[in-house]
Amino acid sequence: MTRLLEATHLTAAYQTGGVEVRAVDDVSVHIDEGEVLGVAGESGCGKSTLGAILSLTARAPLYVESGTLVIDGQSQDLAVGSRIPRTWRGSVVSLLPQGAMNSISPTLRVRTLVYDVMRAHNARISKNEALDRARDRLKELELPVRVLDAYPHQLSGGMKQRVVTIISTLLNPRLLIADEPTSALDVSSQKALIDMLKQMLEQKIMSGVVFVTHDLPVLRTVSDRIAVMYAGKIAEIGPAEEIATGPKHPYSAALLNSVLVPEPAFRKKRVRGIPGSPPNLANPPAGCRFHPRCGLVMPDCRTKEPPHVGDELTFSACFWSAQHPGEAVPADKAVPRHIDDPTELDLPAAGATPAHAATTEGANA
């Protein structure tokens, strides 16, 4: 497999009222040709910020402090002050936002946006050529061509998201950054969108996808590799199945443990939350950022930056994995078991949701 993208030493911070919140801290991402990289994590872990950096749409109050993007052998410095060519956005990397809301200006027809996008990258293109391109795409993906004449309010949420996806990929971008595209959709629209993205990858409309979401089951179906982020850093990254079945970082293990997946193997599974909450990124803990909530914490974790165990495509940033190479984290030890912790409880079988698990006062001792 050839390498599509190398993004190295990405650091970006939100600067508001004199406080600097470093939402992405020295993160490096590598993506191969034809690959879908899923990015998972809790709210505020920096996954959307990573998406904004990679899609070159970081803007105040978010400032990129350092980082280099190498794509197709072309290198681009991302730090504030460097001149990023406007036409990279949309044609080299493209953003697929959560489009069910207001991604298309409410007073604009879809075809106007299509023409504006094509025109922004090729000043000489005629309106008909631009629209033909979009019509062909719509036909290939078996969507009605008449959506081009619609205003955004005339489209359903799922259709709007698919239309936005087509607009994002009009220029055949090398990399598509999908930031929570499925989050506002119902399950059938989610499936339709994911099928469409996969179809587009097969047709080589784009060469790679970064898929950011908090929805782990969706992530598992869509991604080849998954990066689990915690407090502005990548805790673990690796092939989707490996992460799902044998996580090597206590945080990924804990995260997976907090979600129910409707599969037979999960019938008798314990679902638990992760005690505590993510750290304040204005003042992150020293050493490994997960150590205050980790069940396998050891002295080094509190003071030293954890090593990356593995290679650049598959690694776990953890002292425990350094001592236990190749081993999966035992699921029940990933987070501490405190007697006074009400978030731990046994679930009898299917039927309850993780939300209940986190709020119900439990009877586990």
Partner: protein, 336 residues
């Protein structure tokens, strides 16, 4: 089709509103205590020399002339039929001048100050507001505070200040009237050059206030739109900044269009006090004099023009809204 039907329905509504307005317009001045003929006759009798018998004859003659001896409903019908013929009646106070002529003399002056003031103010104000929102920083703060100050100051205060500083203290521009004594309105360059010196002060006193109001509104609308998803998405697609600003402008402009149309509708009576301050011979001054003299036909004619202008402006706003915003058009035509 749908849209034409919608417009047809609107036209009917506006016609109904116009008829109600006409009725009120007719009745309200007549509810004011006192009778214009009393005023005229008592003015005449002040000179003395006329006997009671003669006064009575004069009084009856005037009552007949103005049709005030007829019952109210008949007066209304006569009024309507005159209107239909484009005849606004005869002034009581400046008998026998026709109201058409009085209004026709005053209206161009009012339009000459206000239409440019409103258009310039609207364009400058909206650009200022949008740019302030886009640029941010000190420019934004300065523009915002300045606009807020200008828009919250009563416009007659600004008019008096300008009159005092520029007209009286500096003596740069004339302080009252619309053209120099001895000239008469005619389409020559000399007259135009003279009239424009009288025009500047009332014009500026209106423009400054109007710019302030528009800029404050546009700035907050633009700031709201700047945070919208489509702005970020447009950047992510590599659109040029000016294209994105155009999207923002179109969305932020909606409430501003209402403001523009309503101000244009209010031209006729909108600057009454400004005209009084500068003794400008516009419709405001005419209205003021007519009210003080109980001159029904003039009051009626001017309020009628105001009513028609406001109704027409509202009608145009509704049409313009439908053209700018497809969501409103959809709601209007009942089509999704």
């Amino acid at each position: 089709m749908q849209f034409a039907k919608y417009i047809g329905r609107k036209v009917l509504w506006y016609l109904a509103a116009l008829i109600v307005a006409l009725l009120l317009n007719f009745i309200l001045p007549r509810l004011v205590p006192g009778n214009p003929v009393d005023a005229i006759v008592s003015n005449m009798s002040r000179g003395g020399g006329a006997t009671g018998e003669q006064m009575k004859a004069v009084y009856n003659n005037y009552m007949q002339q103005f049709g005030l001896d007829k019952p109210m409903w008949e007066q209304f019908l006569i009024y309507l039929s005159n209107l239909a013929h484009g005849n606004l009646g005869t002034s009581f106070a400046q008998y026998p001048a026709s109201v058409n002529k009085l209004v026709g003399q005053a209206l161009p002056w009012s339009i000459a100050i206000q239409l440019p003031a409103i258009l310039v103010g609207w364009i400058v104000g909206n650009l200022l507001g949008a740019v302030a929102a886009f640029r941010g920083g000190w420019f934004d703060r300065g523009a915002f505070v300045g606009s807020l100050f200008a828009s919250s100051m009563p416009y007659y205060c600004l008019a008096i200040l300008l009159l005092y500083i520029v007209g009286v203290k500096l003596g740069v521009l004339p302080i009252s009237g619309a053209y120099s004594f001895g000239l008469s309105p005619e389409p020559t360059l000399a007259f135009f050059g003279d009239a424009i010196t009288y025009w500047w002060l009332p014009f500026w006193s209106l423009v400054i206030v109007f710019v302030g109001g528009q800029a404050v509104g546009m700035r907050s609308m633009s700031i709201y739109e700047l945070g919208a998803d489509y702005v970020n998405y447009g950047r992510g697609l590599g659109l040029r900044d000016n294209r994105i600003v155009r999207y923002i402008f179109r969305n932020a402009m909606l409430p501003q269009v209402t403001g523009l149309a309503l101000s244009i509708g209010g031209i006729v009576g909108g600057a009454l006090i400004t005209e009084l301050v500068f003794s400008y011979p516009g419709i405001g001054t005419t209205l003021f004099n007519a009210i003080s003299q109980n001159d029904y036909p003039v009051i009626q004619a001017i309020t009628l023009i105001i009513t028609v202008a406001v109704l027409a402006a509202n009608f145009l706003v509704e049409i313009a809204y439908g053209l700018i915003d497809p969501r409103i058009r959809a709601a209007q035509t009942g089509d999704r």
